[in-house]
Symmetry: C2
Subunit: 318 residues, 2 copies
Amino acid sequence: MPSEFALIARHFVRPTDHSELGIGDDAALIRARPGMELAISTDMLVSGTHFLPGTDAHLLGWKTAAVNLSDIAAMGGEPRWITLALALPEADEAWVAALADGFFECCQHFGVDWIGGDTTRGPLNLCATVFGEIPQGLAIRRSGAVAGDDLWISGTPGLAVLGLEALFGHLELAPEWQRTCLAALERPQPRIALGRALRGHAHAMLDVSDGLAGDLGHILESSGVGGTLDQAALPLAGPLAACGDAALALEKVLYGGDDYELIFAAPPAERAFLMQLAAELALPLHRIGVCETSPGLRLAMSDASLRPLRPKGFDHFA
Amino acid sequence: MPSEFALIARHFVRPTDHSELGIGDDAALIRARPGMELAISTDMLVSGTHFLPGTDAHLLGWKTAAVNLSDIAAMGGEPRWITLALALPEADEAWVAALADGFFECCQHFGVDWIGGDTTRGPLNLCATVFGEIPQGLAIRRSGAVAGDDLWISGTPGLAVLGLEALFGHLELAPEWQRTCLAALERPQPRIALGRALRGHAHAMLDVSDGLAGDLGHILESSGVGGTLDQAALPLAGPLAACGDAALALEKVLYGGDDYELIFAAPPAERAFLMQLAAELALPLHRIGVCETSPGLRLAMSDASLRPLRPKGFDHFA
């Protein structure tokens, strides 16, 4: 069985592009560029909680990197460096190699240096910490939304959770949507170009990891405002086509989670810029509601009635 | 049962002293001081592998921070920021509160801002990532030792593993040493002041987490040199007094691990400086051997014979 040091040497030590020192010493060494501050985020993925025990190792590696990069995107940052600590029940070298390849593929794709790690024995657990650069003072926090702002979301939330439920056998997806939903679940795309482009345009932003309503609730609460979503403006078409059930599609778009799309508040004066940006990035941006002074989150139904939305995301201890 | 968000809000959100933004958004924000580079290290502690399942939560919190800070000390850095991700089998709030208090106590003691975290459900696992500042170019790597350098170690390696074996009931310690050995195990002191003071003086350095011989082996191998340790110069008195067995004391000093002392190579011209430094820091520094061109690691016994030492540290998959 390969030793811990051999495993690290063979699979974790990858070329770095913009670091002073990568994996192999007590610590890695990096230098932020002048005028930049660092955004730092850490995420832990646990077998059985965040992914199914038999998940393909390469896809799991990709996702572990991607969900961390998404947190930097959500601040308007450019992810530049990442570390990965890993607890493994056994030293299954083929599995570790595939995981490392998937992790590295995502890092490379987004220009991120993999600079540090730790491997140890234990129940399967992956913990990545990512560092991004943002010009000083330009980070987009969750707390900056004001009444009158539009609420926007990128892409197609709801597909990932439909993919997950199909894997569990809880529902059957339309055949032509199976691949798209699984890709949303297994190979999420952090919206880094979008996040960067929103610096100076968005007032507040989060990535949707716990569900649209829940993460929007965090923005509204920390900004001291409320909001109303327009049912007719929600991107329901994809999830509806995938599952064939309008009520289920609405539920999954609002509460699904694991989407890694960006939800943000921006003033109406930014609408033209945002439509232009969506075209440039070939990424749909949906204007789904407005911020208001009245606290809480509401859904304006197509019959003009208002339905209160519980702003509740996924809670690991609920 | 408290929610994940309530747990974070109540126990993880602590005042920060030198950070732009702490816990509570997608990412924390920090700025390195001008002329500084960042040293980054991540360590994962797993129940049953790194600590006993019933370990006191406050002590575990301290140790989780301390072993990470030690990696920054070993580069000659000043630890400034840290994140903690946590998988918990259940939301036992009293346990989480004690863990967070111990972690924060260590951070505060060493001037480190606790800026980020993640809590999730899963088998108990603690993953901290620490960021330290070092003036650009002054980091002390493992690879800089040259033939002719003295080899030094701080403090009293071997006590921590004696404490662990006493906890397991594998041996009985002299009563007056029980507390010292347990403190070495449960409240390790990262040698931050020593590490910083060695900038520009030590050629190579590591912290002793996997055992003196193993970590020294890493220095020698990556520096392309060998070394001989002098048995008579090893700090054996403490471990010997604690366990009453000379052969066992030698074994534990060389191979014990979990010590978090600093082992370093420095040219003979630094001897006077180092003796002065030891006095200033009230921390013993032991000159235990020399670097040589001949590869490998040897122990010069008191009868002048040479014994080859396997430079083998702890391997989680061995």
